[in-house]
């Protein structure tokens, strides 16, 4: 029984990470209609930035806000330079551009940091296990779940309670009518993209200890992020959250109970879900 709780716990922790990184991708795809295969690269650079700062004596927790801000700024720059122009292009152009970006990013990371897996120094408080209800839980994973829960609450408040959130929701629903009503759609896009990239950078830094960080990270986990978005429904906060947790649970449980099936479970689950819900669990558009 203890191992069952352990698996659920690990699955939820993994799912929270997926949620943190995927939410930016989901909003980009839902709001701006861009297939952004470069999202994994943003997360990867967040991770490398954290490692780079860590090697210069900055404590791990202090690197997190830096990663968020730096990748957010980089995201804003990319949006102005590239993505803004890609919005009106065909899906093929978007796929090509962003896949080219990812290839270049992976190569650049290999060139600068080498192909080896990177390590991160966690503060002592986040190492080891914490006893909770008689079950030993990884302290870092507990921290992850708590942090993502707080961030999600903030995100919901941002989207539901603020003017900015209302503008984002309006722009997701109908870009043209929103623009007609005087909502600065372009600025909303840019800010949202920057915010999503920042979260990806933060997620990238947070997942070094769980998923490992190497240059192929950008491609390897991109599949999971895309999976979350397509299953959850692009542009939906709740859908992304549900899909992340479900995929996290299935992946961890599958690898524990039926290791011989491996990643198969996830891909199979995805095909089935996409067939049953072609627009995603919470998708509004087809």
């Amino acid at each position: 029984m203890a191992s069952f709780f352990g698996i659920v716990f690990d699955g939820v922790a993994y799912g929270s990470l997926l949620f943190l990184i995927s939410i930016g991708l989901s909003v980009t795809m839902g709001l701006m209609n861009i297939v952004n295969l470069a999202h994994g690269a943003f997360a990867m650079f967040g991770g490398y930035l954290s490692v780079w700062l860590g090697a210069r004596g900055v404590p791990f927790l202090a690197t997190l806000p830096v990663c968020f801000v730096a990748l957010g700024l980089a995201g804003a720059a990319c949006e102005r330079l590239f993505y803004q122009r890609l919005r009106r292009r065909s899906q093929l152009d978007q796929v090509l551009f962003t896949i080219g970006f990812t290839f270049a990013a992976v190569a650049a990371a290999t060139f600068v940091w080498g192909p080896a897996e990177q390590r991160v120094d966690l503060p002592a408080a986040l190492r080891g296990q914490v006893q909770l209800f008689g079950v030993g839980l990884g302290a870092y994973r507990l921290f992850l779940i708590a942090l993502v829960a707080v961030l999600s609450a903030g995100l919901v408040a941002l989207v539901e309670k603020t003017t900015f959130g209302a503008r984002v929701r309006a722009a997701v629903d109908d870009e043209h009518v929103s623009a007609g009503l005087g909502i600065p759609v372009e600025r909303v896009f840019c800010l949202t993209f920057a915010f999503g990239s920042g979260l990806a950078g933060l997620g990238g830094a947070l997942c070094i200890d769980v998923l490992g960080l190497e240059p192929t990270f950008a491609l390897k986990y991109l599949v999971y992020f895309l999976l979350v978005v397509s299953v959850g429904g692009a542009g939906s906060l709740a859908g992304t959250a549900v899909a992340s947790i479900v995929l996290g649970l299935f992946d961890v449980a599958g690898k524990y109970y039926v290791p011989e099936v491996g990643a198969f479970i996830i891909y199979g689950l995805m095909i089935v879900l996409l067939l049953v819900f072609p627009a995603g669990l919470y998708g509004r558009r087809t």
Binding site: L96, G100, F103
Partner: protein, 340 residues
């Protein structure tokens, strides 16, 4: 001029003109000439042709039918493993192996095509990716059959027609690959120049309107997807038979993405774009990867970004635009129109 005031459309403009142009004949003569001119590079040249054939099969669904696929390597891999397994089990005859590979890949393509036609946009893209990844994972897990990540070795391709042995320099292999590529190309050329090909282009341009005029959109997509899968299987089988090895990379994402890049580099929807793209891609890869593997990947990524932004038609698209310009200039000189 017809009575409706609409000028009659030449068969050429409809894409129904089937004659071989001078450039096309030149292209295939060049491929034959390579056999005599580059005896030391025939192994590489065979790989270029195989990659070209694979990109050509992707062109059928991407360039003509407009389906963006991130998992086309699934069919290449199925073909490669079928030909490889047949050969390992003692059936090394090349042509029947090729046919078996085409049939198997076509069958997988037919089955998965129902998943493809069901979705749109992101869903469709993700399904192609998931199919590719799950086959890759399946081959990885079934290591007792496929050899897993070590790859399938112990293949032996028997002499072609019982007469021509596959030599170390790859002479027989090159001619064999060239012949199969040419035959496949003729098939694709026939298909895209037929009303079938026209309806595919209609679907690419406006699927809803094709529904409205009564075109069997679903069936056309299933047909072209199956055909493309079978051709990809042929390419995979060729690769397995000539190298006598099948690695797990045959099913990998990099191969799917690579074919996509080759295709847009050469020009999608132009049939020859696949071969021009594969030539350039493999040449640059060979040159740059020698310097540093990351080097190649970096500049390839940058090139793809540039293509996506600026050069929509790839190299052939650019070339044909230049030719059209020249033709207009020449026509303008011969008979200057009044007022322009």
């Amino acid at each position: 001029m017809s009575s409706s005031g609409v000028p009659p459309i030449a068969p050429r403009e409809l894409g129904l003109d089937e004659r071989f142009g001078r450039l096309e004949i030149g292209f295939w003569l060049l491929a034959v000439a390579a056999f005599f001119a580059l005896p030391g590079y025939l192994v590489l040249a065979s790989q270029v042709l195989i990659a070209g054939l694979f990109a050509l099969s992707l062109d059928l669904i991407l360039g003509y039918a407009g389906i963006v696929s991130l998992g086309h390597a699934a069919f290449f891999g199925v073909g490669a493993y079928v030909a490889g397994l047949l050969s390992v089990r003692g059936h090394g005859e090349a042509l029947s192996g090729l046919l078996a590979a085409a049939a198997a890949a076509g069958a997988v393509g037919f089955c998965t095509s129902f998943l493809i036609v069901g979705g749109h946009g992101l869903t469709r893209l993700m399904v192609t990716l998931a199919v590719g990844l799950s086959l890759h994972e399946a081959a990885n897990q079934a290591s007792s059959i496929t050899g897993g990540s070590d790859g399938l070795s112990g293949m032996e391709t028997s002499d072609l027609f019982g007469l021509f042995a596959f030599d170390m320099l790859g002479k027989t292999a090159y001619l064999y690959v060239l012949a199969v590529c040419f035959a496949s190309f003729l098939l694709v050329r026939r298909a895209v120049h037929s009303p079938f090909g026209l309806s595919l282009r209609g679907i690419r341009e406006n699927e809803r309107r094709m529904h409205a005029i009564g075109a069997p959109v679903r069936r056309r997509l299933i047909e072209v997807y199956t055909l493309a899968a079978a051709l990809a299987g042929v390419a995979g089988a060729l690769s397995a038979q000539t190298t006598e090895f099948v690695g797990i990379e045959a099913l990998g994402f990099d191969r799917s993405a690579g074919a996509l890049v080759m295709l847009v580099l050469g020009g999608a929807g132009r049939a020859y774009g696949a071969f021009v793209g594969s030539c350039l891609f493999m040449l640059l890869q060979t040159i740059f990867a020698d310097i540093h593997p990351a080097y190649w990947q970096f500049w390839m990524g940058c090139a793809v970004m540039l293509i996506a932004f600026f050069a929509r038609g790839g190299i052939l698209g650019y070339a044909s635009a230049v030719f059209e310009r020249l033709a207009i200039v020449r026509r303008g000189r011969a008979a200057p129109r009044p007022g322009t």
